[in-house]
Symmetry: C2
Subunit: 368 residues, 2 copies
């Protein structure tokens, strides 16, 4: 399945901080066919470092999408039945307007003059895309990690536009520890002199700071167990310790590789803006109970968490479930057993596939 | 209790990597009185960022020692009964020879020409100090975190010199995750241009990189729960989000403060060398079972871990206990309930105090 990247431009988007962006481009991909009644559309929401290329083989890069094991014919999000849309988030660096985009008022990249955005802003832009498609109600919204946070925001902000939501490995608001890990990443980037207050687009990017930020991220995406299985204390290409500061252990080599590879595909300022949006996210907006936040929600929910995910631990998904049950909402919850930590929703997808397939089928049936 | 820092110089120390250091200074403090038979001496071993000032009020700085709540008259390590010694570790930056020390061969700081050291090297230097005191057998060796690793090394390397050992919140070898967190800290330091391949002693130190490294460390020292209790999502000095990249959340302010404060008291190259020593540490030296490593150990053990410590999880302490029991060694183990994460051994000391006090009293009784 070779897929093409698409893009649509909207005149302007009003933001939570009072500013507005004009114009705003949205990069997206679609998989499968929209039916004539437009009742089979599913919006997939990507995580922090994802993009619109969720499935298939990219025409440009030849690479598979980040959730290609879950989206396609016969897969969890079955493109023989459903029309699947995925767009790059606002603030991103993969086709949708973000800090690396050119500010039409100046002809230069926004850099740090880009407004601070929120998950709610991201979702409002996605809704403009869905309106543009002429889709009245999405059969489902789904994603893991920050994608799950967007799915929750969709269900609360646009309750009459969402038949179901599948938030995976996520939370309704970041804990102090989650904020702390994001802050470390931001500080690592801003500590790099090449960051230059965000003005690096005509020079070299803050590669070292961004790489360190990404290394921290990768540790939080894995579990203690999965790192033991994958690396243990194995040495990299040597029989004994080097007694120097080159790579000794395989895990060091892996982190250095992941850090430097990330720099080639991600914008450091996007890192700052997107992590800030995650930290600001609070489904209650700091007011009332979580249950009251779901007051007008009409969606069915399938909430999934993973036993070894310590970045978005199961108790955070269980908070969602308790709040929904308090509102007597239709919610199914499963904690899947997996050693893969937070990465599980991307890599350990067999059971997740069964759950999603069944949930979508029954949801689709009810809407016909 | 006002305490004075002391120092002793040894001619040379042979190292695991084949090199030797000459001379080697050791900074130490003592509390209480050594009895005439020299049977009441306890060696306290500090953690990664600690120093010789474990207890009392420093004559120089006016500050209390890092374990002042555990060492003193009537405390866990009761200085009315015991003679307590604590020295700064080899590779440190608080009086004992380390990378910031002047290399007598060049008249310049060693910097990265300092040899890569091991926990075993640290312990061999401590043994020279104990020999210098004329102490034949230590009543106990104890410490938390890397201090616990040193206590284990003492019991294995010098079995006839240690009556008991109290390793707290530690491990016999770093897991992939523990190595990974250390590697991130090292990469953050080495990514800072001010690090300058370690040659910064006549310029400004790599303050930004070292601060980022320390921030990561602090997250791992706390638990998700204790961070929620201490910070939650409270904003710092504002009612609403700033929609900028200044401090929004209290946890951000705390991390930035801790990072910048650390820079004033710790040497970045020491950070590199000491974390490397921790990562290399393996009580089995990569050969045989853990039980066989304890083959010649004669000490009694009190092993303590903390329920919310995810940096040195209880399963790592339980591995020690299983190995000791396999050798039919005298070992007591307690997992203490605490929300404070890895920091618990420093801050949540009430139950720990009871355990240590009783263990030391019975150990002392047996030796008389």
């Amino acid at each position: 399945m070779i897929v093409e990247a698409n893009s649509v431009r909207f005149d302007s988007l009003s933001l939570d901080n009072g500013a507005s962006l004009a114009p705003v481009d949205v990069a997206y991909e679609t998989y499968g066919e929209l039916n004539s009644k437009k009742t089979n559309a599913i919006l997939i929401l990507h995580a922090f470092s994802g993009d619109a290329h969720a499935a298939g083989i990219s025409h440009e890069t030849g690479k598979p999408g980040w959730w290609d094991n879950c989206i396609g014919p016969g897969k969890a999000f079955d493109t023989n039945k459903y029309f699947v849309i995925c767009s790059n988030i606002l603030g991103g660096c993969r086709g949708t307007t973000g800090p690396s985009s050119v500010n039409p008022a100046t002809g230069c990249p926004y850099a740090m003059s880009f407004p601070v955005i929120t998950v709610s802003d991201m979702v409002r832009l996605q809704k403009m895309l869905i309106d543009w498609f002429g889709i009245e109600r999405l059969l489902s919204v789904s994603g893991g990690s920050m994608g799950g946070m967007q799915a929750l925001e969709w269900a609360v902000a646009f309750p009459d536009r969402v038949v179901s939501a599948i938030p995976i490995a996520c939370t309704t608001r970041h804990s102090a520890q989650q904020i702390a890990f994001n802050e470390v990443g931001r500080q690592a980037i801003m500590a790099d002199p090449d960051w230059n207050e965000g003005n690096y687009y005509s020079h070299k990017p803050p590669a070292r700071g961004l790489a360190v930020a990404r290394m921290v991220g990768h540790i939080t995406y894995m579990s203690d167990d999965s790192m033991r299985e994958k690396f243990g204390r194995r040495l990299r290409g040597k029989e004994n310790f080097g007694f120097d500061f080159d790579v000794d252990f395989e895990v060091e080599s892996y982190l250095r590789y992941r850090g430097s590879e990330f720099v080639t595909r991600f914008d450091a300022n996007s890192y700052l803006y997107i992590t800030k949006a995650m930290d600001y996210f609070d489904l209650t907006n700091g007011q009332g109970t979580l249950a009251s936040a779901f007051a007008s929600s009409q969606a069915r929910f399938l909430v999934i968490s993973f036993s070894s995910d310590w970045l978005y631990p199961s108790y955070q998904s269980q908070e969602i479930v308790r709040a929904l049950r308090t509102r007597n909402c239709d919610v199914a919850y499963v904690e899947l057993q997996s050693n893969y930590g937070h990465d599980a929703f991307l890599v350990d997808v067999a059971e997740q596939t069964d759950l999603i397939r069944g949930f979508l089928a029954s949801t689709y049936e009810k809407t016909q």
